[in-house]
Amino acid sequence: MSELLLKTEELGKAFKMGGRTIRALSEVNLQIRKGDFISIMGPSGSGKTTLLNMLGCLDKPTKGKVVLDGKDITKVSEKNLYKIRRHKVGFVFQTFNLMPYLNAIENVELPMEGTKKSRDEKKQRARELLKLVGLSEREDHRPHRLSAGEQQRVAIARALANNPSIVLADEPTGNLDVKTKYEVIRLLGKLNTDQGTTIIMVTHDSQIAAHAGRMLFLSDGRLLAKEKQGTHLAKDALKCPNCGRETQPEDAFCPRCGKKL
């Protein structure tokens, strides 16, 4: 069993809205090991992105802790969180979020700004990464001259720029057509198997989620006990613990008895 990379303990996030306290996440206990490829599924508003933001130091929990590489990152001051985001975490967004005024290689170099790498080293690293995602020929192209799939591949290369401990992908195939989304998910799978990159991916898409090694389910801010091996998801339909009816991973309630899953 590989080394524990990230864990959450009793992680919770609550915020006030119109005088009411909304619990976006409750008691999330999660353990991610180095080299894991995990997908997190759940309906809209289930807290998937909130969880991803906590793991990626974009947001702070109101309860519990997140330990990354043995360090409780919830205790790191707001001012210093950028160092963790820069060196330990790589983000992949649904809308790619590339800088439109930079070409592919410059976009990939961007996270390396402020690191000790020389200009040539940054360029060299960016080239390697673009080669890894199959875009060596497109390094001088700005985002508007790249297809959506190519843009997401540049974004993946950018996420890997500082060789992070973990890549967090928020709906990485959400803006892609059927053909392209499989290209991107296969790329993520390849990075996981070939490079040993630890990936946590949030998605609505059960077929995409199934490409991950493990699938976790979030519902109403809670991590469900049901956890599946991604590659076997098609065979193992989920059953309602109340009535035994088969359900889909994205179902929040049982279609037969209405029990919350």
Binding site: G56, L58, K83, N97, M99, Y101, P111, G114
Partner: protein, 460 residues
């Protein structure tokens, strides 16, 4: 790919925004480089003018003091003004060559006055204008008007060496040639404006009342009134002959034994010769005081105009600077808002608050640098127009007067500015423009750096 390169790319990417800020900052800078030098130039002009007035008044005071025993008796009440010109100019010591001398008295009066108790000496003059006149256009802030004036005015002087040595009866500012001497005849001393007008020099011939005279010297006329009178000085005998006034004089300078005798002598002359206008030290002093009052008032008005101009200029600059800062501030705030998602992404991929802030600050500074260059260009070309549009036109003295050695009092601010633009002001304004850009970007950049990456990433 450094912060600077990214900032430059962003500046060139948002052309409309950059153009707006560049124009605003550029105009602000143009105002800054145009107005203050204009104010300084006008202040200097006023200072020069004040000095010139003071010098002139003190030299007049000296002259008056020197002539404490002089009683001037003239056959005409007004001197120094050509016929047709508006009156109201200050009266002081009459210059050589008064231009109005239509009334004459017989030289026998000279002997009669000499016999009055307390009279030391008496010098007679004959002053007569030429028959021919010229039409001249005079420009003034109140408009142009045409006047007719004699080509020259003859001043006939008693060329007695005792008088020449002891009294100020001949011009002193000889610029070339020589002054008149005792027993000179058939020769003249001409004012430089007359020799220029006639196109002659020393030893040249001039025709006076149909008779030819040799110019032996040229002098610089002192001037009072709107014109510098064109004067020709000659012996009184020659003057009486050519003008057909044998035995007549038009002005008498009576010198008393002492200053205490002046009033008594003046009373006797006034009582005996009602055709003569008598002026004494006291009258001249009163005239000088009136002049002083008038000049003081004029200078005060000029200074108040300058102060008002300065205040207006300060207001204009403050408004321009404030408006520019606000424009930069709002444009940069808009930019930050527009690029919220980009800021979120940058922070998510590891940019520190400082990285984000420096990028936005740098963009503001780059725009300001461009605006600085544009501002210098606009300022250099449009400074006079800008100042005449933005500042009240300085017309300090109502009518143009010309005093020896003074700057032209009718100088307007816009005229002053064209020569006043200097690199120091440009450098200062450039620095201010860049500071404004940096200042206007500071808060938006700070706000950008403080943006929560999570909130920013949600922004659409």
């Amino acid at each position: 790919m450094g912060t600077l390169t990214r900032a430059i790319r962003n500046v060139s990417r948002r052309k409309a925004r950059t153009l707006l800020v560049v124009i605003a900052l550029g105009f602000s800078m143009a105002i800054m480089i145009s107005i203050p030098p204009g104010i300084v130039a006008n202040q200097e002009s006023t200072q020069d003018l004040t000095e010139n007035y003071n010098n002139m008044l003190s030299s007049m005071q000296e002259e008056i003091n020197k002539t404490a025993t002089l009683i001037e008796c003239s056959t005409s009440s007004g001197q120094g003004m050509p016929s047709g010109a508006p009156s109201g100019d200050p009266q002081g010591i009459p210059p050589f060559g008064s231009q109005q001398a239509a009334v004459f008295v017989n030289e026998t009066v000279v002997d009669e006055i000499r016999s009055i108790a307390g009279v030391k000496d008496i010098v007679g003059f004959l002053e007569e204008s030429s028959n021919e006149t010229t039409s001249e256009t005079i420009s003034s802030p109140r408009g142009d008007f045409t006047v007719s004036r004699p080509i020259y005015t003859i001043t006939g002087v008693s060329l007695n060496s005792y008088f020449i040595d002891n009294y100020s009866i001949l011009p002193t500012e000889i610029t070339s040639g020589r002054n008149l001497q005792e027993a000179d005849s058939g020769v003249v001393l001409a004012s430089s404006n007359l020799t220029s007008y006639l196109g002659v020099g020393v030893d040249g011939q001039v025709e006076i009342y149909g008779e030819s005279f040799t110019v032996v010297g040229i002098f610089e006329p002192t001037s009072q009134g709107r014109f510098e009178t064109r004067i020709v000085c000659m012996s009184i005998t020659d003057a009486q002959r050519v003008t057909g006034n044998a035995g007549n004089v038009s002005r008498l300078d009576v010198y008393a034994e002492s200053a205490s005798d002046v009033d008594g002598i003046a009373d006797v002359i006034e009582a005996t010769y009602t055709d003569l206008y008598v002026t004494t030290y006291k009258d001249r002093l009163e005239n000088l005081e009136r002049m002083q009052e008038m000049y003081t008032e004029t200078l005060n008005n000029a200074q108040s105009t300058i102060a008002q101009t300065q205040s207006t200029a300060t207001q204009v600059i403050i408004v321009a600077v404030a408006a520019t800062s606000l424009i930069v501030l709002f444009v940069m705030l808009y930019t930050v808002r527009e690029r919220t998602k980009e800021i979120g992404t940058l922070k998510a991929i590891g940019f520190s608050n400082w990285n984000v802030m420096s990028q936005f600050m740098l963009e503001g500074i780059i725009i300001s640098l461009i605006a600085g260059v544009v501002g210098i260009a606009i300022g250099s070309v449009a400074a006079p127009t800008l100042t005449s549009l933005l500042l009240p036109r300085i017309s300090m003295f109502g009518t143009q007067r010309s005093f020896p050695g003074s700057v032209n009092p009718g100088t307007t601010l816009s005229q002053a500015v064209t020569t006043a633009l200097d690199p120091q002001w440009m450098l200062l304004a450039f620095g201010i423009a860049v500071s404004l850009g940096a200042l206007g970007s500071l808060y938006p950049a700070w706000r950008a750096s403080r943006t929560s990456p999570m909130e920013a990433l949600k922004y659409e």
